[in-house]
Amino acid sequence: MDEQIICAELRKFLKSSILAEGVEIEKDTLFKDVGIDSYSVIETVLFIERKFGVALPDEALTPENLKSIESLANCTMKCAND
């Protein structure tokens, strides 16, 4: 698994399922800056579980890890390798 691939998939998911049409998001965009709320963050975490087979443990679900595509992808990689 590659972090760049996770970033790309997360971006694709957010654009197709969470964000309004035409809203751009980059890997370092803060979720709160594009209106992604707690409900959508959980949907994204569940997407990671479905897509990559990585269930993020409770201790990984920190505000720091859940703030952007990049931080979430990084956290996913760490959890996958543990």
Binding site: I18, I25, D37, V41, L61
Partner: protein
Amino acid sequence: MSRLTDIPNTLILNGYDAFQHFIGTVHAAEKDSCTNSRMIIEMEGVLTEQMIEDRLADLEQLAWINSYKLKTGGLLHKKRVEIGESPQKINVISGRVSEQEYHLLHFEKIPILSDTWIEIDLIYLSGERTALILSNNHIILDVTGMKYIAELLCGLINPDNIDSWSVNRKGGKRISPLNAFGYLFGLITQKVIDLRSGRGVQYVSGYYRKIQFSEEETTAIETQALQSGAKFGVILYYLACTVKAVASVKKSKKGIFWVPVTVDTRPKGKRGPVLQNQISMMFFKVRADKVKLIEQLVAEFSAQMINQIKLKIVQSYSSLINSIKSLPGWLYGAMVKLPSKGVFSSFAFSDLGEFSMESFLGKKVITVYNLPVNPNPPGFNIVYMKFRGTLSVVVGCHDTVFTDEKFAEFESHLKETLVHGGE
């Protein structure tokens, strides 16, 4: 005034039929009350009826999406509502508010907006201030839609940049109406506590109370939220503190607190539709004997939130609302009465997040807050909102739910728990 029938019939209005039926048949026939939610915008200066009329004339969205009614000084449709010694109580006499502080608004049988979707009331306060009160039927317009209406009115949103109606959520697996009904009936068979003192109370009076926190207190609350382990934002911390405060003053006979929480499922990142067919809820429940540490409650609610999203319950609820439109009238009428038996929830909770509005049609905004919809039951609804960095909590409460003393106790518990994390 625009009427519901002005809505173009070429539009796909999935769910609209249900709303129209709801208002046109069930509520109007039963003269049910207390189903309006309100946003209050208090500003410096005098806002005239003509200024609002002129603005409304420019807004095509409001002309056809919403049937509206504009009134001056007639908030409660009553000549006199309540006389109280507390400075927070108000007198509404001939439509005029005589007290400057009106954080505690008493109501008595708030009229259903049977022929309008939105009502705009202008209340003139002393010291050249105006309170503009937007009222809407909560079944039709959720709190975010209400916020958009306010922003449309004051010109913060370009009307061309906002959708008027949304039928389908992006992504989201479709849930069959059968499953959705199954879920609903699963819910209503649950035994939950009933906060009302008596069953079958159909029309009761009640009040709203605003609890305002300072900037320092708001910062302290958000710090506590982070320390409580709330992973997905402050909302679950607010919810946990509220449940704890309720539990501290209201004992549960059946042993379970059941709390519906509103969910905004609009696509994120832009202005979404004013009206949508995805008005949805999540449902949290906790046993009264588990209401101990805030951290435990937050963890419990986090798990329930994840579980509900995983099980697509939010979509189920939306599907249920949409599927209602195809029901025969008698069955629909029976269904809307089911929750009114008081089996559904202990209290209702909303968090509107942050709101910012500097001026309204050129008048400097002093404050904005929402009054929660206050249906009966549960007759005890709570809404959180941040405005200019300060948190406000408004509680809508039927007289039968709490005595004044109990309410003061609840307020004190809630403040203490939010600021200090329940320690």
